[in-house]
């Protein structure tokens, strides 16, 4: 029951000094109605991956290979990377919507939030009457907890949390099957962050869309995701059910990430960061890209680049990862 299948996706950034592989051979499945968490440090390629799925890459970024297949609710398959012109325009937002990191930056500052919902409806539902569009935008705003009279507010007149809610309302305008959320709560303070997370979970229950939730905050993902994929240097290094990933992380990097963040609930564990800095994509080390920072690296790790097998990409214990 996959709604989206990504196979061997590659994205390069072209620069004068050659191509940088920002996303390198990523394969992922998104199941209908699930929340898939995508975690990694900045530069790990998680945002680039999301932009690639949404066909939002701009030069110098370009897709170099792979496929993205979208499965309609009625069973039809769509080659997302092959969509052109009108097909692509019609696919966008109706099937796949995006909530960006900062609503401050992603909402048009010179247009009211109502207008930013209604212009989606006007383009995608040409037969919809003006009254119906207004009704729908009021309904959506109320659904995310914004009162009807705020329809005519400009983004700068709303608080940070309200703006992010408005961005979610806009994303739901056409009842999409997939919503990509690119660090939707990073710019918010912790209390507002919690409210928004609850809202997202509740909306998912109600509408049944699938979510790709991107963040560098793994503990946050543990709380809301069904499944999680960890990215490092443009590759998926571990993937699995949130629970399993939490209880028995198998990639040393996942282990490091789990220890990097204080939990929102429960006893605080020791904060063990990962030594070193995120890798320079222009000059990746040979072998496993993580080996210079890995406490358990084997001699082979310097030479052999592991591939994802059984949900982990690590040479330790004959490819089964830590422990």
């Amino acid at each position: 029951m996959n709604v989206l299948e990504i196979r061997d996706l590659g994205v390069d950034y072209q620069s004068n000094s050659g191509a940088v592989h920002a996303v390198d051979g990523v394969s992922l499945d998104l199941r209908r109605g699930e929340i898939l968490g995508l975690a990694g440090e900045s530069g790990s390629g998680k945002s680039t991956l999301a932009h690639a799925i949404g066909r939002l890459l701009r030069p110098p970024a370009a897709i170099t290979g792979g496929t993205v297949t979208y499965h309609r609710a009625d069973g039809g398959a769509v080659d997302v990377l092959g969509l052109r012109g009108e097909e692509l325009r019609a696919f966008r937002w109706a099937e796949l919507a995006v909530v960006f990191q900062s609503a401050m930056n992603s909402l048009n500052p010179v247009s009211t939030v109502g207008a930013q919902i209604e212009d989606v409806l006007r383009i995608h539902r040409p037969t919809m009457k003006r009254n119906a569009r207004v009704e729908r935008s009021v309904e959506l705003l109320q659904r995310v907890g914004i009162s009807a009279d705020r329809r005519r507010s400009y983004p700068h007149e709303l608080s940070g949390g309200m703006r992010q809610r408005a961005a979610i309302a806009i994303a739901l305008a056409l009842n999409p099957e997939i919503v990509i959320m690119d660090e939707p709560t990073t710019a918010l303070d912790v209390v507002v962050q919690r409210d928004i997370l609850h809202e997202i979970s509740a909306l998912r229950e109600e509408y049944g869309f699938a979510v790709v939730f991107i963040t560098h905050d793994l503990s946050l993902l543990m709380e809301i995701s069904d499944r999680i994929a960890i990215m490092y240097a443009g590759r998926v290094v571990e993937t699995g059910a949130a629970r399993a990933l939490h209880d028995t992380p198998r990639h040393p990097y996942t282990l490091g990430l789990l220890r990097s963040f204080p939990r929102l609930h429960g006893p605080r564990e020791e904060l063990l960061g990962i030594p070193g800095t995120p890798p320079d994509l222009r000059a990746l080390p040979p072998g496993c890209a993580f080996h210079p920072r890995c406490g358990q690296a084997l001699p082979d790790c310097r030479e052999i680049s592991p591939s994802l097998r059984d949900g982990v990409s690590c040479l330790l214990n004959e490819g089964k990862g830590v422990r």
């Binding site: 072209q14 030069p59 110098p60 370009a62 170099t64 290979g65 990377l81």
Partner: protein
């Protein structure tokens, strides 16, 4: 790339102004019987109504045009540095007053003011024209430098210098000024363009020193000598082209510097995404 082309143009004209008159030792004002001749082997760019050689005039004229432009930009930039850095550094009421002064001069139309000021000058020599142009040309630089000073002022090394008890003058000129040199250079180049254009306009109106040959005064004599009606394009095209080329050179250098600061402005070749 842009910077190289721009710098090439500038070096060319600088050489023309510095070395040109040494190579062509003729008197640019010398008349001859060969009036209004088109370009030929004897006169590469033709002659004026009174038989003056236009190439000689262009070469000698570059001294006046560039000289006034640079002199005036030096004065204007010095003033801009004083106003911008002092305002940005001290803030408060001082900044308030200097900002209003800057904005007033930014809004007032420069050329009409220059014309009025020049109208009052008893003698319109190169230096006085340069000063008059500088009076109206400092505001843009002051505005840019003030904004930059505001941000530099909060940096650690400036805070440290202040904490260690250095006086404001020392901090402004020995700590902040060196950091702002690239910005000062950009604003200086832009001011040179403005000053060259203003000098040309003033000379063209006959309001500068008409006894010295400059590109603007060449255009003045071309217009008054009916070059347009006679069809003597070689008389008025070269001086205007030289002004525009210098402006282009300076602009290319400046745009190039902007692009280094803001890579998004670059023109890029769009690669076709995977089909």
């Amino acid at each position: 790339m842009k910077i190289r082309i721009g710098a090439g143009i500038l070096v060319f004209f600088a050489l023309m102004a510095l070395a040109g008159p040494l190579l062509i030792s003729a008197d640019p004002a010398a008349t001859s019987d060969a009036g209004l001749q088109g370009p030929s082997g004897a006169h590469w760019l033709g002659t004026t109504q009174t038989g003056q050689d236009i190439l000689t005039q262009i070469v000698y004229g570059s001294r006046v045009s560039l000289g006034v432009g640079v002199l005036s930009a030096v004065i204007a930039t010095a003033f801009a540095i004083a106003v911008g850095l002092v305002g940005g550094y001290f803030g408060g009421a001082v900044d308030e007053v200097l900002s209003v002064l800057t904005n007033i001069f930014l809004v007032l139309p420069a050329l009409p003011l220059i014309i009025v000021l020049a109208g009052y000058l008893p003698q319109r020599g190169v230096a006085s024209v340069a000063v008059v142009i500088a009076v109206t040309g400092w505001a843009w630089g002051a505005r840019v430098l003030r904004a930059q000073t505001l941000s530099v002022r909060r940096r650690d090394f400036v805070e440290a210098a202040r904490a260690s008890g250095e006086g404001p003058i020392r901090v402004i000129f020995f700590e902040i000024l060196p950091v702002l040199l690239p910005v000062i250079a950009t604003s200086f180049l832009a001011t040179v363009v403005g000053a060259i254009l203003a000098e040309a306009g003033l000379s063209f109106l006959g309001l500068a020193d008409l006894s010295t040959v400059s590109w603007g005064s060449m255009l003045y004599f071309a217009q008054n000598g009916q070059a347009l009606l006679i069809g003597a394009w070689w008389w008025f095209v070269p001086p205007g082209l030289c002004i525009a080329l210098i402006g282009t050179g300076l602009a290319l250098v400046n745009f190039g510097l902007d692009e280094i600061a803001n890579p998004r402005l670059r023109t890029i070749k769009v690669r076709k995404a995977r089909a």
